[in-house]
């Protein structure tokens, strides 16, 4: 069995990150979950939040996801999210602007709320990565 987890973080239109990792932390609908080697096979729903992937060399990859899935099987972790972005790719100023705009809309639609959550998740991801 491999020494490490094989992780792939996939968005709808591209593979955001893939490689070997020692640990993955993600937030499912039931709470934060950490996955190490030898984890039981699991399929769970994620919420809009931050995913942390601890790389083999000690670096931590931080990404923001908006919902999606975490599937773990035989030390293979795949994180699927329609719009996943790495913290390093997030444009903070733009996201803050989006956040403010979406906050202004709140109360009127669910869509606005989703956008707020997404933007917040992205900003948290950036802050975590620092």
């Amino acid at each position: 069995m491999a020494e490490n987890l094989t992780v792939s973080l996939v968005a709808a239109d591209r593979t955001v990150w893939s490689g070997e990792a020692t640990m993955v932390i993600a937030r499912t609908v039931e709470g934060d979950v950490g996955v190490l080697r030898g984890h039981a096979p699991m399929l769970s729903l994620l919420t809009d939040a931050v995913v942390e992937i601890a790389e083999v060399d000690g670096d931590v990859v931080v990404a923001a996801v908006d919902g999606g899935f975490l599937s773990v099987a035989a030390d293979r972790v795949s994180i699927l999210s329609e719009r996943a972005v790495l913290a390093s790719e997030v444009d903070v100023d733009q996201t803050r602007a989006e956040l403010d705009e979406a906050r202004g809309l709140i109360g009127s639609e669910d869509e606005a709320e989703r956008r707020v959550r997404r933007a917040e998740a992205r900003i948290r991801a950036v802050e975590r990565a620092r």
Binding site: A11, A12, D13, T15, P41, L43, F69, S71
Partner: protein, 309 residues
């Protein structure tokens, strides 16, 4: 000489400038196809993982989800037709529409009414011109669809599928007509049933691999529950299939356009050759005429001179 030399020259010139345009369009389409193919490839991992996950859930729980449930007595079917926004792509849009008509005919013979959903301006124009109703149309992205559009289309289709029978806008089946990109040379219009989902086949079309049958699916734990996971998974699965269809259609459209523009360029070449020959003939005829006129004039002068002496 029916048309003067000058007019032939003008025709050659205009054909030449047309050729320049078609040549440019051919080159643009060629470079965009590569991008479209890359996008389709980039989207493949997501579809693959999603398919794995869906088959995992389907295998380990008794699937009874609204999206997979067959209506006992289907009365209405929705057809989503993926066409292009712009023309000059040969028979691309018309062959999709033909395929859609064929499907509609088949559905009607099964006693189902048809709701039409359309992607692309060409399809919209086709239906508007014939004054046939369209339920919803999305336009303006046909050569580079984004996932957001696919999600929107998928959500609309799912919503109307989930309505109860008898409700306004309810459909019992959803079909998808798009052009599958086989290679640069062949693109074939394809009709597939999108909903109710048949659980679970790997995406057809070759760009997505089937999960290896030899690797036995592990016994998954589902959080919070198998139903909730399925609830979240299936709509995304539908959207990803719509996205897949849009990407395929985009690549097909560009390939069709490239082919059409290539033959237009070749035809322009032919035309220029033809006109050049006719123009040369006209020029020679003109010269011959002038010479015979001069000779005739000289002769007449000589005759007149000899007569007066």
């Amino acid at each position: 000489m029916a048309v003067s030399l000058r007019e032939y020259r003008a025709r050659i010139k205009s054909t030449e400038s047309m050729k320049k345009i078609t040549r440019a369009m051919e080159l643009i389409a060629a470079s965009r196809i590569i991008k479209a193919q890359q996008r389709a490839q980039a989207a493949a991992p997501y579809a693959r993982e999603l398919t794995r996950a869906v088959s995992a859930v389907a295998t380990f729980s008794n699937v009874d989800h609204p999206l997979t449930r067959e209506e006992e007595n289907p009365k209405r079917a929705a057809v989503l037709i993926v066409t292009s926004d712009r023309g000059l792509a040969g028979a691309y849009s018309s062959s999709v529409l033909k395929e859609a008509e064929r499907l509609a005919e088949k559905l009607r013979s099964e006693g189902k009414e048809i709701d039409t959903y359309i992607c692309g301006r060409k399809g919209e124009a086709y239906f508007k011109f014939r004054q046939r109703p369209i339920v919803q149309a999305w336009t303006g992205f046909s050569d580079q669809p984004s996932y957001d559009v696919a999600a929107e289309v998928g959500a609309a289709l799912i919503e109307s599928f989930l309505k109860e029978q008898g409700e306004e806008g309810d459909v019992d089946e959803v079909h998808l007509v798009y052009t599958r990109f086989r290679s640069m040379l062949t693109q074939e219009p394809t009709a597939v049933r999108l909903l109710p989902l048949e659980v679970v086949e790997a995406e057809e079309g070759g760009s997505v691999e089937r999960p290896d049958p030899s690797d036995v699916l592990p016994l998954y734990e589902f959080e919070p529950s198998a139903e909730a996971v399925l609830d979240g998974l299936l709509p995304q699965y539908v959207q990803s299939r719509v996205f897949f269809a849009l990407l395929q259609a985009a690549a097909s459209e560009l390939a069709a356009r490239q082919k059409a523009m290539k033959s237009a360029t070749d035809n322009a070449d032919e035309l220029i050759k033809k006109y050049t020959r006719i123009a040369n003939q006209a020029r020679q005829a003109g010269i011959t005429q002038e010479i015979s006129e001069i000779v005739g004039g000289v002769n007449a002068l000589a005759d007149a001179n000899s007569g007066s002496e």
